[in-house]
């Protein structure tokens, strides 16, 4: 599904990712954890095609094709979805309208027929029940005045409607109450299938308890410093990033002085 190979990314003069390599096979859910400022969102944004980040070396293959050569909307139509850590407001654009425009743009790009208003409404009604969202919220402008939790639910709703092949979720679980967390986990689980994958960025063990990822990776100092099974998350939860063994972590402690407090929860 996704192959990231020695990816180097800079903004201006500073290198943020310094050789990230990662493979997510079809059907798997991988978690990415790591201290604040370690480059998790940067990785997510680069996968989605955000502008100011410059890829200075390495490559990213998505289903065997060069993902970095595509513009953001092409990536979306090809099935890449990014759940934003900070979803923006778009005043004056009703959420329903936004969703329908997005879905139909993707369908058009894939040569599928557009969905009419009636079918679309039925689709939305089914999906919004899964994430326990009121219809009234969808008549409001995109994220306009939405609470933090409502925004995150809205991200999951969009994911469920767009049905991506690869979902990259950037801290979709942060700032959620227990019910919302369950909803987000259920949303991701609904999409779980042999031909879909997810890359879930999180600071918290509790989401992974629901999801049970196939692999957990730790991103620190611009590199993957450790990978392991679901148990790795529990270990990090107990001991923090500073106690990770190995040379990579030493260099990490050198490069950022506040690593262990960086995992604030």
């Amino acid at each position: 599904m996704l192959l990231i190979d020695d990816l180097h990314v800079s903004i201006g003069d500073s290198e943020i990712l310094s050789g990230v390599s990662l493979e997510v096979p079809d059907g798997e859910i991988h978690a990415v954890m790591g201290p604040n400022g370690s480059g998790k969102s940067t990785l997510a944004h680069v996968l989605a095609g955000r502008d100011p980040y410059e890829v200075t070396a390495g490559r990213v293959l998505y289903e065997g094709v060069d993902l970095l050569a595509m513009v953001p909307e092409e990536r979306a139509a090809a099935g890449v979805f990014l759940g934003f850590q900070h979803p923006v407001e778009i005043p004056g654009v009703p959420t329903m309208y936004f969703l329908r425009t997005a879905l139909n743009a993707q369908r058009r790009a894939r040569g599928q027929e557009e969905l009419g208003p009636v079918e679309f409404l039925a689709l939305v009604d089914a999906k919004r029940r899964l994430v326990e969202m009121e219809r009234a919220l969808l008549d409001r402008a995109v994220n306009d005045g939405f609470s933090g939790g409502e925004r995150k639910r809205n991200e999951i709703l969009q994911m469920l409607i767009l049905e991506p092949r690869l979902a990259v979720l950037d801290e979709t679980d942060s700032g959620l109450d227990i019910d919302a967390l369950r909803v987000v986990a259920a949303g991701v689980t609904t999409l779980r299938s042999p031909d879909r994958s997810a890359l879930v960025i999180t600071h918290h063990q509790r989401l992974l308890d629901h999801l049970v990822p196939d692999r957990v990776h730790v991103l620190a100092g611009g590199r993957i410093v450790r990978s392991g099974g679901p148990d790795l998350a529990a270990e990090l939860e107990a001991h923090g990033y500073a106690t990770l063994g190995g040379p990579a972590v030493e260099s990490l402690t050198v490069s950022t002085g506040t690593v262990s407090t960086g995992t604030a929860r």
Partner: protein, 481 residues
């Protein structure tokens, strides 16, 4: 915005879909302006003496005036002696039915997407079609007459309802008001007239469709709408012009009068030819529009969507005379390419407890310059008056500009004035969010800008709101960034 995209934005001209001209057999007055030309216009129209005298008064006053220079626009000097002040499609004897409309004229309106006959049958919107200053057809007159509503060309109103015209002409915008109002009063050739009698709710939307066709001509139309006590009417004007490489002058006057408890809603979708990508050609849209909320609890509401013209200079205003009267101004003004817009409103509060609302959305892209200029004036008599103004400017690209000049004069301590203003860009975050969901960049920009304008668009009658959104999207084509 990346350099490549900036370049693209500059290079991409905008397609103007209405840029054709039609070969109509046209009757012209000689070029230039003099008392003789005015006498000729008046004679051609068979006008009564009082009207000719009024025109000549306006002309003599105009001769004493200089073109205003305070507005925030630049253009080469206009040679008023090089303009043709009267151009009329020739086959324009009074029509008794739609079938008599010149087939060429019909074809032209069909091409504009306004089939006059179809309009009459299907749309439920009465249309007055004005080509080069002369009304060529008015639909639905019979049905309106049943309700007691008069809706006809200005010329016909002068013939058939001279007392009404005489009572109200110049009562809101006297010819002494300003340079362009004086010019219009001297040379206006036609326009629309509407009278809604006491207690009548006009049974359909009224609209006038203006088209400049002939080359080298100016368009000087005049619209007068009177709503008697308790009457209600909603009126819409639309405008287009052929692509020509010289500038064309459009100097219209619109006067509205609302008596006790009457409501007039006036909407404009202005799409005159804006000029080419280098700034050649395009219409100078120098217009005076004002309503007099004369009666108690009367209401006048202006909604304008200004996407066209090389230069727009207009300040639709309301004189809030009646106690408890209401004035509203909702505006979207786009300046793309080399367009300049200096527009806003004037709200003059005279009566007690009068209330005005101003919502202005200015969008600049390319080299466009957009100025909001608004006056809120509350006289000593306007106790308890309130105004709320909201001015939002949106910039797309690095070479455009937005300017805001609010003027406030308050003469009584019980008055309240609130002013909010914002300037923003189409944010990269918003654009990226939409593109990440699969919406292509241009469509995403257009969607975000339409969202920005939503408060204004929802004031438009439904079918025109759709048209306005479409026009906005066309204006923004190639302006991505």
């Amino acid at each position: 915005m990346s350099a490549a995209r900036a370049e693209l934005a500059d290079l991409a001209g905008r397609e103007y879909a209405y840029g054709f001209s039609t070969d109509l057999d046209t009757d012209f007055a000689p070029r230039g302006l003099s008392e003789d030309v005015i006498r000729l216009i008046s004679a051609k129209k068979g006008e009564p003496d009082w009207l000719l005298d009024w025109r000549l008064g306006a002309y003599r006053h105009w001769c004493t005036l200089a073109e205003p220079t305070w507005q925030n626009v630049t253009h080469p000097p206009i040679d008023y002696d090089d303009i043709i002040y009267y151009a009329a499609p020739k086959k324009n004897a009074a029509l008794s039915s739609m079938d008599e409309v010149d087939p060429e004229v019909r074809a032209m309106f069909d091409k504009l997407g306004i089939s006059l006959a179809e309009q009459e049958r299907l749309s439920g919107v009465a249309v007055d079609a004005v080509v080069d200053s002369v009304s060529v057809a008015t639909t639905f007159q019979a049905r309106l007459a049943e309700a007691g509503v008069i809706f006809c060309s200005f010329s016909q109103a002068v013939r058939d309802h001279p007392d009404l015209v005489r009572a109200y002409l110049g009562s809101v915008v006297p010819y002494r008001d300003n340079f362009f109002a004086a010019l219009n009063s001297a040379v206006f050739t036609d326009g629309s007239f509407c009278y809604v009698p006491e207690g009548v709710v006009c049974p359909m939307e009224l609209s006038t469709y203006f088209r400049i066709n002939a080359a080298g001509t100016g368009q000087f139309e005049r619209t007068l709408i009177v709503a008697e006590r308790g009457a209600r009417v909603s009126y819409l004007e639309g405008c287009t012009a052929p692509m020509r490489d010289e500038h064309q002058l459009h100097a219209a006057v619109v006067e509205l009068v609302a008596l006790d408890d009457a409501t007039i809603k006036y909407s404009t979708v202005q799409n005159w030819y804006p000029g080419d990508a280098e700034g050649n050609g395009g219409v100078y849209n120098f217009v005076t529009k004002r309503g007099r909320a004369a009666g108690a609890r009367s209401k006048i509401s202006w909604t304008q969507v200004e996407t066209g013209s090389a230069i727009t200079w207009k300040y639709p205003g309301v004189v809030l005379q009646g106690d408890g009267s209401v004035g509203e101004f909702y505006s979207v003004a786009v300046s793309a390419g080399h367009q300049q817009a200096d527009t806003g409103t004037k709200m003059i509060h005279i009566g007690k407890d009068t209330k005005s609302t101003i919502v202005s959305k200015a969008i600049s892209t390319g080299h466009g310059q957009n100025t909001y200029r608004g006056l809120v004036k509350m006289l000593r008599s306007a106790t308890g008056a309130r105004n709320h103004t909201r001015c939002d400017s949106l910039l797309i690209g690095p070479d455009c500009g937005a300017h805001t000049f609010p003027y406030v004069e308050v003469k009584h301590p019980t008055c309240q004035v609130e002013h909010e203003a914002t300037t923003s860009k189409v944010s990269d975050d918003q654009l990226f969010y939409a593109r990440q969901r699969g919406i292509p960049e241009e469509e995403a920009t257009s969607m975000i800008v339409n969202g920005f304008c939503r408060e204004v668009f929802r004031e438009l009658p439904m079918e025109f709101a759709v048209e306005a959104q479409r026009l906005l999207s066309v204006s923004l084509e190639g302006a991505v960034g």
